[in-house]
Amino acid sequence: MMTPRSAAELSSRQHPFRKSFLVHALFTTDHRLIGLQYLALAMVAVIIGMVLSLLMRLHLTWPDRVIPLHGPILPEDYLALVTMHGTLMLFFVMTTAPQAGFGNLILPSQIGSRRMAFPMLNALSFWSTALALVVLLASTLVAGGSPISGWTAYPPLSAVAAAGPGQGAGMDLWIASIALFAIAATMSSINTLVTVVRLRCKGMTWSRLPLTVWGWFTAALLSILAFSVLLAAIVLLMCDRHAGTSFFVPTGDLVNGSLHAAGHRGNGSPLLWLHLFWFFGHPEVYIAILPGMGLTSMLLANFARRRVFGYRLMIATTLAIGLLGIMVWGHHMFVAGLNPFAGTAFSISTIAIAIPSAAKVLSWLATTWRSRPSYTTAYLFSLGFASLFLTGGLSGPILAQPILDQYLHNTFFVVAHFHLIMAMAGVFGLFAATYYWFPLVTNRLMSETLGRWHFWLTLLAAYGCFLPMHLTGLMGEPRHYAQLAELPGSAANRLLAPTLPLNMHITISAVILVASQVLFFANLAVSWRRGLIASANPWQATTLEWSPALRAHSHPTSDGDLAPVEAFRRPCHYWSHHNGWHFLPQWDSADTTEPKSE
């Protein structure tokens, strides 16, 4: 058994002169360090995003409270909070952490490679993403503050500076940030795709690829198709704002009380933006969730000591979800003036996507059914992922029907739906990944006791927070709506009065949800230095990232003299024999003819 060498030790072997650790860390092209950088970036974004969501919830429940150093939250402030929360969470957390973060950290070794295909490009992608985050956050500092048009940036709000506070310089910064992000995400996805196609080790055939790799691969395929359409949409939006065109706002439109005419010519329509944006936007949510789906399949199998039920089928459903994912964008536009026939078509394709998704859930159930799993924290979070995905998924086919969406669109019902299926499920995937792969980075285990507390509190608070939103949505609570109560004489307030008890419940759950994350961060911090020392393969895993040959070495270049890596079988090869569990990892060259399971 070789012991993993530290990065510094390796770098001193590689480089003739020793760079300081900071310089090394900043300008690294080592995929593992870049993965950690991405995760750190996502951590910053998620903490800010969480605080913003808390502010929203507190404002909805106690609208008169004044924030220290800020004053009361005005309606436009609320919209700015929603926008920044959504943008941070979706782009800078759910796109970066699973795909680029864990993708860089784990993907190469899962396919038996010691490097990504293009290390320089990798570093460039990360630094562009970091710059994009800085630009986004800078929008809070400019006159007018952050934009208020939501993460979807619908025109005319997003296209006309006069449309509201934050729609001037703030919106320009938002646009710049997202453009940069789109380019960075594309570069990083190119790297992922080429790595998977070209750098698989000997014996790592396509059908032996772990399902996590299939998740990353499919998400990367979606990224290179979707993000450039977003970029095109953003270029058009920029032209509308600064070059006198009218792609998205018709000439003569009345925006915020003034005529949008001077110098703008065109027959533009906001519907065009919706088409372009959602052509990106829907694949985007699959980009966020596909890596988590792959991970869930693998972890459930690993801890239940079972084969993944229907391995080939799971590969096929991953690809099918990706393919269908680019054909359903119209389900976000049922009430936007879409042609009713198009609505029907999109409704059908959307309900069709339920089939591969249901196949996934069934496979998870079948894999774990009547197994005797070890309930580690990583396993619990994978179960949580399955549970949240199912709960959130059930409202999908409801929203996919144009006639029901008439009522539900723009209510909290939708907020409930996407937070369960995407936000919470996605975050649970990230937690599972963190607990599971932590030993790979630190050689230590995270605390299981803290982990279990963290899991149960998070699960209960997440359901407590997002399940009741279905009800308040059905009662008519709108999205993007700053104040539910205490506006004297407001008809809307009277209408929403019955939702207030539930909203109180939601807010309290949200506070608990956010507070529980302290356990997670504490666990990270403590275990980093003082966690139990992990064995070489603490979860008795079968995938290559745990193989001694790959763990011993992490530097991306010159693998000339390193032990060759080979994959001999599919992952998840376990059986019980006499008095215990046995497993054959992918790197074990033992005879593949397995003993009969008993």
Binding site: A117, A232, C239, G266
Partner: protein, 260 residues
């Protein structure tokens, strides 16, 4: 012919691959003859079963080409989006205050110089292809790899320079077209149709400008890059990028010329 070789930095690096005949200026470079999957040279096994990094002369080249392919696929989606909006905008109108249906689209007549520009761009594709092929000519590649001068690179340089020249000529021609339109008072903001004329020609020009940058990098590489394989990859990838931009332009040009 015996050749004396002083060990270079590459050779001293421990990543040097002796079984790939790496004598110091990189392992055996790819050539134009054949696209073999197996080794030959007493090495009959299947290259794709070898460890990554040792899968034959074309391994790195293929990797970079694939990366470029994905990048171009993604870039194509950008133009697909723009062209789709072209047709949407062309076919949509609005109702004015008097309830009249108005479609403001006034077709932009393209300046005839675009025909010339297109021809220039096609010629540049030809020159870059010659340069690309010259990078893989077996005899010269072998000589250069053995360290006998740089015949391959030397023979490619003029054609790369010619490509840069034609590229610049194309951009100058596009600038001329924009000037001519401006003289006729057709500006970016004039009309939905002119929005697209400028948007498409600008974005394509930016791509071509980047392409010229890449060609210059390739030229720089021809003189200063240490490994022949790297030089080949530089030229090969910039050539494919250039071709794609040329073909793309033909489509965009047809769109602007005939589908207004």
């Amino acid at each position: 012919m015996p050749v004396t070789i002083t060990p270079t930095g590459t050779e001293r690096e421990h990543g040097r691959r002796v079984e790939d005949h790496d004598h110091g200026s990189g392992r055996r470079p790819p050539i134009d003859k054949g696209d073999k999957r197996t080794g030959g040279n007493g090495d009959g096994d299947n290259w794709s079963n070898r460890p990554q990094g040792r899968r034959g002369p074309r391994e790195r080249l293929r990797t970079y080409r694939l990366g470029l392919f994905f990048a171009l696929a993604s870039d194509l989606m950008f133009f697909v989006a723009i062209v789709s909006t072209f047709f949407v905008a062309q076919n949509s109108g609005r109702f004015n205050a008097y309830n009249h249906y108005i479609n403001e689209w006034l077709p932009t007549t393209i300046p005839p110089v675009l025909w010339l520009n297109t021809a220039v761009l096609l010629i540049s594709s030809l020159t870059v292809e010659i340069a690309r092929r010259r990078m893989f000519h077996e005899q010269f590649v072998m000589e250069e790899w053995f360290g006998l001068g740089r015949p391959t690179s030397r023979r490619a340089v003029p054609f790369l320079l010619a490509t840069v020249f034609f590229g610049l000529l194309f951009l100058a021609g596009q600038a001329l077209a924009w000037k001519q339109l401006a003289v006729q008072h057709v500006f970016f903001a004039s009309n939905p149709s002119s929005h697209f004329f400028y948007l498409i020609t600008y974005t394509h020009a930016i791509h071509l400008f980047l392409g010229i940058g890449v060609l210059l990098i390739a030229l720089y590489g021809l003189f200063f890059s240490r490994q022949l394989e790297t030089r080949q990859i530089l030229v090969d990838c910039s050539a494919w990028y250039w071709h794609t931009m040329g073909v793309l332009w033909v489509f965009l040009f047809a769109l602007l010329a005939f589908f207004q």
